[in-house]
Amino acid sequence: MIDGTRAHAHPPRRSERVVIVVGAGAAGTAAALAAAARARRVVMVDGGTGATTLSTGALDLAPWSRASRPPAALTAGARGVLAAMDAHALPEAGARLLTTAGIERPARGHDAALLDVTPFAGRLLGVVRCRRPGWDAAALARSWGEGYEPLDATILRHVDETVLPDADFAARHDDPQRLGWLAERLREALARSERRFAALVLPPCLGVERARGRTLSELVGASCGEAMGLPGGPSGLRFERARDRALSAAAVERVRGRATRVGSAEPGWRIAVESAAGEPLTVDGDAVVLATGGLIGGGLEYAPAEAVFASALPPAPRLPFGTSPPAPVAIGAHGRPIDLPSTLFGPAPESIAWPFVDAALLDRVGVLAGDDGRAAPGLFVAGDLRADGPRTWLDALATGAAAGSTAAESAVSDPTPSWLGAASPSRP
């Protein structure tokens, strides 16, 4: 099931191992699903939402920029995870998505509710007018360029919908009746208009439980989809729902709470967790996949000495970064451990951050790991937490799936990565 279309025909052989996955975003989900197909038992420690839930639905492999790049290859593991979640589209030729910043951008794939405008090149697309924050259909149509025109339609039903956050508004269209009402309004608008629209662009609003784009398109008789909105919109919630369905189908156990410590428990690992109810508990396993996110998700912390030690000077030269939870891993960038900062209080931000410097330390810092995500024997990292990664959705899936499957299969006595000898772990 995980390795794509023929997974059922040749299910992977299961090991006797217990894999713990810390983190429930794209990387953690990929790791858990990949491990679930291979390990005896998979436990996910779910500390809440992070960068994935804040994402707006574009699936990129490399960071997108205005310069077009050839689409990069996607690993079978990442494809398998997307197939298991069944909430995204991955057109082989890539997609073109619309953002509410007024840009039409390329993407490798997308949340199923977003409108991919590739098939409609050269045809007229309607931008549905409505009084939602940040949604000025006329301005957006102009910004997206030729081929977009505003379309007058009534899609708000209650007064509060002019100020309701995107996600809450989208949740209303999970109700089939409401979705039918919306379809009727759009059909009316299309019938009223003298123009012939090939597809309709809506603000982020098409459901939270599942993407309602296809259902709506069938009801309306024309393709309908969302433009990408602001972080914290429905796209992140749709991911969470799809993840929950996929994880329970794969029988992954979930512990709700924040991991507070990653320690070794011979021969494997022990994760200390503060549960959602505030109680301390521990989870033991043979291997651990840390997928707690980067700076956005909180897995990596920027902690300059002045913030930690307040008025006292730091007791020893100290790296301004740490992992949360503390773990015996090496933090670095550019494939090597970070040099110690040269100022009393930590680094000068001017020297580590974009736009002061390109390829800035803050964009690249993370846990040093091998290609399969191994950061220490039996300890793997995936997603944004990895150093030098592109920090994209599809990279999180690919590294997550790789770490999950390796964690399920390899033994703790595997060779130690070379840099662990060179650098002492940031925190024991």
């Binding site: 910043a101 007024g102 951008r105 940040g134 957006l140 602001l230 700076l295 912390e301 920027y302 913030a307």
Partner: protein
């Protein structure tokens, strides 16, 4: 080998004579160079006296020191012992500003804790006596007299204070939005017949070829920085009010730069994401300078530094060392500033009067008018120094000199009695909000910035209901206000809009509003959407730079998210 002909500034020769035909030149009485508080103030004053004024600003109004000040029209308490007349004029003028722009002012009570120590008690007595003297000036600006507090009262008023204290005192100051003060002066000048050219660099100031006894003596040539369009103006009088840029401007007119020397003092402020203290709090930096944290509009400010600056005046930035200096100094008495999220910094260069050998702080903020008659340019003046609190007085002195000396006009100065735009009467923000169907918070901020003109902004909504939308949710700023400042307040970029409305200066750093603002500005100005997007991108990059120097643990997360979102929705700038 350096080529003597190549120099950053033109050599200080005598002012040249214009050779090109002047058919296209507009005739005015006075050309003012510089759109800071001195330039806009004097332009307004002259316009109110019925003179024809043209003002040129190279960047945006309030781009330099005026828009990057501490945002206070304080009474100059620190000059009390050295130069009490500075304190008096500051206080008196502060009172006048309250009269002409009451909507723009807000009270900031300050606490000054006095630390225990061998001389603590004596220090408290001395400070108490010092402020007793300051109390004499407080009525001039409707300030409350100071209070003496014992340690328990201090702790009650401001529970976040730490350290052993023998007591403290309070004193009263007024906050103001310096950028808006400049804009209001410029708008009033326009409404009284003046012309204001923003983003227009003066390229040359030349003698007019034929000098009539009462006619124009000078030709000012300027060009628009975006459209490269040339503007030529003939004027009888030229006022150089370019602050720290003054020597550069003087050189453009062939005047000796040494006559308009300024000591460029760079000052930075750190912006915290909310009002972290109830009162302004004074503290001592490690070198003994007075620094402070104070609530200002929706945020708290930490200020300020004072260092000589010899860098690029068009791109002054705070550095992380300066931020650390302030945070460390204030955290000594108010440690909450360490944990607070710093959402930005800003920096400006004060044009203090030039004096050699004194340290930066001892330089007075007094002002001076330089008459360039001796340099062969009668009717050319430079305004040197000055401070926000006494800008009106400085403008009046300058305008008196020009009006009486060069135009034989006896029209009296009226800038202290005639209200600035929007300052004529109070309006009820809550009722306004109800009438136009906008949120009361947005209406309250709108009324703060625009006074009675808020009604005019909100009337736009009746014509186009879509403008009721909130463009910047942090501050908040309505779409109607964004369009208003582009249409009626000379804003031309997202940056300009931000300076006039505080759009994008809140906790999200413009992540949620810059793109939309770019679309609106492009639409209002008839530019392509792409240009609007580029404008928004430039604003975001500049803001990111100003935030990062104050990067802390919490802001690092927000910064990463903002950058990821920017890259995802607009492409990597």
């Amino acid at each position: 080998m350096s080529d003597p002909a190549v120099s950053v500034l033109p050599p200080p020769t005598a002012m040249p004579v214009a050779r090109e035909p002047l058919a296209d030149a507009t005739e005015v009485d006075v050309a003012v160079v510089g759109g800071g508080i001195n330039g806009t103030g004097v332009a307004r004053d002259l316009a109110l006296r019925g003179l024809r004024v043209a003002l040129f600003e190279r960047n945006d109004l309030a781009f330099g020191a005026s828009g990057n000040s501490s945002g206070m029209i304080h009474g100059g308490v620190r000059y009390l012992s050295r130069a009490p007349h500075v304190t008096e004029t500051s206080c008196r003028d502060s009172g006048y500003i309250q009269r002409i722009a009451p909507h723009l002012l807000f009270r900031i009570p300050f606490l000054m804790p006095v630390r225990s120590g061998p001389k603590g008690r004596v220090a408290l007595e001395l400070i108490d006596a010092y402020f007793r003297a300051y109390d004499d000036y407080q009525p001039l600006k409707r300030g409350e007299p100071h209070c003496r507090l014992d340690p328990s009262e201090l702790a009650e008023l401001e529970p976040g204070l730490v350290g052993a204290v023998v007591g403290g005192i309070t004193f009263d100051e007024w906050g103001v939005d310096g950028a808006r003060l400049c804009v209001l002066n410029a708008i009033d000048a326009i409404e009284h017949g003046g012309r204001v050219y923003v983003h227009t660099t003066v390229d040359a100031v030349e003698h007019a070829p034929a000098r009539a006894a009462a006619g124009p003596r000078y030709v000012v040539t300027a060009s628009d920085r975006f459209t490269l369009e040339r503007v030529r103006v003939r004027a009888r009088v030229v006022v150089n009010a370019t602050g720290a840029w003054s020597p550069v401007t003087a050189a453009l007119g062939g005047l000796p730069q040494a006559r308009v020397r300024v000591r460029p003092g760079k000052g930075i402020h750190v912006v915290l994401d909310r009002r972290v203290s109830n009162y302004g709090i004074l503290s001592e930096a490690i070198d003994g300078r007075q620094i402070f944290v104070y609530p200002w509009q929706n945020v708290s400010l930490l200020g300020t530094t004072d260092d000589d600056y010899y860098g690029d005046l068009d791109d002054v930035q705070a550095t992380s060392e300066e931020v650390r200096y302030l945070v460390q100094g204030v955290a000594r008495v108010f440690p909450a500033v360490r944990e607070a999220r710093a959402i930005g910094t800003y920096a400006g260069v004060r044009p203090t009067l030039y004096a050699y050998g004194t340290n930066e702080d001892a330089l007075s903020r007094e002002h001076e008018i330089v008459d360039h008659t001796a340099d062969g340019a009668p009717g050319v003046y430079s305004m040197i120094g000055g401070k926000l609190a006494s800008y009106r007085l400085f403008a009046q002195e300058m305008a008196d000199r020009v009006a009486r000396g060069d135009f034989e006009s006896q029209a009296p100065c009226t800038t202290h009695v005639r209200a600035l735009p929007g300052g004529d009467r109070a309006v009820d923000a809550v009722r306004l909000a109800e009438r136009h169907g906008v949120t009361p918070v947005a209406a309250r901020r709108l009324v703060y910035r625009h006074g009675s003109r808020a009604e005019r902004v909100l009337e736009r909504i009746e014509r186009r209901p879509g403008e009721r939308d909130v463009t910047c949710p942090c501050e908040p700023v309505l779409e109607a206000e964004v369009r208003h400042v582009v249409a009626d307040e000379l804003a031309r970029t997202v940056d300009d809009v931000s300076r006039r409305t505080r759009l994008g200066l809140g906790a999200c750093g413009g992540m949620r509003c810059a793109a939309r603002c770019g679309q609106i500005v492009a639409e209002e100005r008839g530019l392509s959407p792409r240009e609007g997007g580029l404008m928004a991108g430039e604003f975001l990059v500049r803001q990111a730079r100003s935030r990062l120097v104050a990067l802390g643990p919490v802001q690092a997360r927000q910064e990463a998210l903002a950058l990821a979102h920017l890259r995802s929705s607009m492409g990597q700038p």
